[in-house]
Symmetry: D2
């Protein structure tokens, strides 16, 4: 399915419920964080998480990310590729291979 189709489905869902008024960029940023922490909760005590629960919580994070991307008039794939390009430059292969060191300490 294309990004456009996803965006249309999300837009219809929101419009039908008249929820656009709640979806300021700030409220969406809060929502992304709240849902991210619910995803994290599945790993709180270091036990293996249930795959179905991971799907469910990851879906919530993604949904709010897509809504925020629409809000700022961009799309997730462009964002990811644009950032991947920047990150590739910050983490050159020869310096970053196999280590988790942050770029400012490489």
């Amino acid at each position: 399915m294309t990004e456009n189709a996803i965006n249309n489905a999300l837009r219809d869902f929101v419009t039908e419920r008249d929820w656009g008024k709640f979806h300021t960029a700030e409220n969406l940023a809060k929502s992304i964080t709240i849902e991210a922490a619910e995803l994290l909760e599945l790993f709180q005590w270091g036990n293996p998480a249930s795959p179905d629960e991971v799907r469910d919580e990851l879906a919530d994070v993604l949904t709010y990310c897509y809504l925020l991307a629409m809000k700022i008039e961009t799309n997730p794939h462009d964002l990811i590729l644009e950032k991947l390009d920047k990150t590739s430059q910050k983490y050159p292969v020869d310096k970053s291979k196999g280590v988790s060191t942050k770029y400012d300490k490489l």
Copy 2:
């Protein structure tokens, strides 16, 4: 660009750096939360956030979400649609229209 193309670009980036070993589901869940909070930081004091910074931080959240989706062998679009279907049932239009009430209090 298709999801496949994005996934391939992400996979190549990770493989070249031998970073797959860091990307356990738990570490990705932590990373999603950490990046979400960096996005939230742009709205910390209620000021309007810089659009470029929002793009940048949202891109980081999305990137880790896509990596986790790959890790659990699914894809973001399926996750979003599957969840949208569930959420539509939890929030029927006639009860939820125009209100931000949580489903368990509708």
Copy 3:
């Protein structure tokens, strides 16, 4: 040092800078989350965290927690004890001993 002395030191710091106007309950809640994620970042890839950095980030979370407690006219010690009492009832020793199961699944 007593809680009162800590609260006075925090209040003076904020008043001198005229920062009280930024410290709505919501902004403090955002700030607590943002700082918590910075603490979490020290454990992002599962490596042992530097004790000095943990002190530093934990201090930030605590500071905003104390400011929010003042804002809602209570104090951290009362909050902790009040909640410990509730949690003790939700997690009776005989059912919860040695397991990390959430109370609604005990």
Copy 4:
């Protein structure tokens, strides 16, 4: 009530339930973040939050902060004062008065 008394109450609660084994520094950092986001959820759509719910969620964040402070063999009050001293230097009154600008842009 003194910090010592609070710490003793927390320690007893944990010991009785044999929960110390779950309380690695990393798991506590995750827990602080998770509870912080539950606090944030009370402000998700910008509505005023219920004071009782704020008390409850703030208590959870504080509880895990106190447990982590014990874990790293320090105490919350020292941490707060030590950090307040650093922050006072990063944000001199004359430069930071009345503005929410981050220290690196002052």
